[in-house]
Amino acid sequence: MTRWRSNGQPGRTSRLIRRMARRYDLYLMLLLPMVWYLVFHYGPLYGLQIAFKNFNLARGIVGSDWAGFEHFLRFFNSYYFWRLLRNTLTINLLSLLVAFPIPILLALLINEIRNKAFSKWLQNITYIPHFISIVVVVGILTVMLSTKGPVNMLVQALGGSETRFLESAGWFKTVFIGSNIWQNMGWQSIIYIAALSGINLQLYEAAKMDGASRLRRIWHVSLPGITPIIVILLILDVGQFMNIGFEKILLLQNNLNLESSDVISTFVYTTGILKGEYSYTAAIGLFNSVINLVLLLIVNGFARRTSETSLW
């Protein structure tokens, strides 16, 4: 600190210290969590260097030889790079457009149900599918969508032709995102329901006095009340743009739908993790993270300027 002072900014630094000292108890609260972050997140960060090395388990992280950007180039030069990128981005973009708003709509819907018992039932039922394991969800999809399954029967009854939903590149994204919505909308709506319950009831009363219809009350009271949480979750979602859980895709994947189901996470799993290629895996992971971070910074900056809500 003394060195700083001699640098010729005495006023600003000491004012900061004074401000900090006044709120020392807030820092006391932060002490334990911050130590935890340093130890458990920043401590192991030296492991990142394996992305630039030819990591050899036996020689350790520090002892392995440097490889420079070899692993990154290998990924960029992979025959499948563009397909992986395209599929990852389109699936995430479609999810953002279609799957992201649905839990919000569900929460608003639940909020509008006046029969409290019915509303609780609806919440409880939509919540359950979250706990069905992925293997079983895929099993259910197989039964549903097989050529002799109920969906195909319906399609044929309506005059359509037999469709192989699970073995066609064209249907893959619909099946994947649709089943995600079906499984997770209830679970994801919980956070919005909680936020809705934090809205001051007097605001609704006031709106009603002004003669606002229910739709207008949703638009002018409910929605603004949960906008901060929506914005934050949106930012966090964009910050995961390059990631897709690989388990479900892997189970749904076959050579006939690979054209649209081949994504970075499954690629990392099959060519990196399963084959013990730590460095390659780390390099692709780092590439993803950097893109994710850049996207997050962009969206966060945009949010800060337009909506007052942002990460910092």
Binding site: H41, F131, A194
Partner: protein, 308 residues
Amino acid sequence: MVREETGMSKEVIADDRAVLPADERWFDILVYTIAIVIMLVVSYPLLFVVSASFSAPAKVLAGEVWLWPKGITLEAYSNVLHNDKIWRGYGNSILYTFVGTLINLGMTLLAAYPLSRPDLPLRKGLMLIVTLTMFFSGGLIPTYLLVKDLGMVDTMWALIIPGAISTYNLIVMRTYFQSSIPWELQEAAHIDGSSNWRLLLSIILPLSKPILAVMVLFYAVGHWNSFFNALIYIRREELYPLQLVLREILLISQSDAVDSSVGLEDKILLAESIKYVVIIVSSLPVLLMYPFVQRHFVKGVMIGSIKG
């Protein structure tokens, strides 16, 4: 206090009905129709899981079961319920979930509250430090070596301490504090001379029941469903959480027929139906949790507390 407020919201509803204009009624019909459609769509797979758990595995595999059970059998249930490892796993999971969630909640609160304060110097920098951890991690090996050097391998702490805070949850909680608790309220308390600790305990916490309930749910479900850390850090079988025990059982269905033991095929088939039983048995506790969490999603808490 809470009860009083629900009472109030009922009054509001009753009041609503009295003056229900026609378009409001249409709105209600629309709301209920959509709700019922969603309920049916979502109930179907649940019914399927229950049916499949009672059905003969061969029928399930052949795609014959799609609504009601076929070839009803309780074999899968008796197999699961007579397995001592499962019960021990149950006990372990309950313990880990309880202790873990408690620590999660404490740690997240300690971080989220100060970071929600607009008057905290260096807040942006601290937020950045926290947020970056969502993107960069050292990977499995350095983390393992750390946990090992802390002497936590093969103890329940390896499942709890390294995951003490979820940054995602931390950010959600902080956002709730910022957006749902009026800053004026906190400033007023400050002027009264209460310390930040007092402020947190006597004003923030009572006003944050919905988000605390959500956090309990998120963290508890996270602990309940997690297996990877146990896979890496736990060696002694008596410490296995439920999910690990269940994964082992389900793995039978991937056994290599080449080195099959006697009756392996039967076991593979059985594992098929066990899959469904496992969902029912293992998710029951977390399903039962939700109504308790729901109880805290009550409107009007805010006003009541200000009044009180």
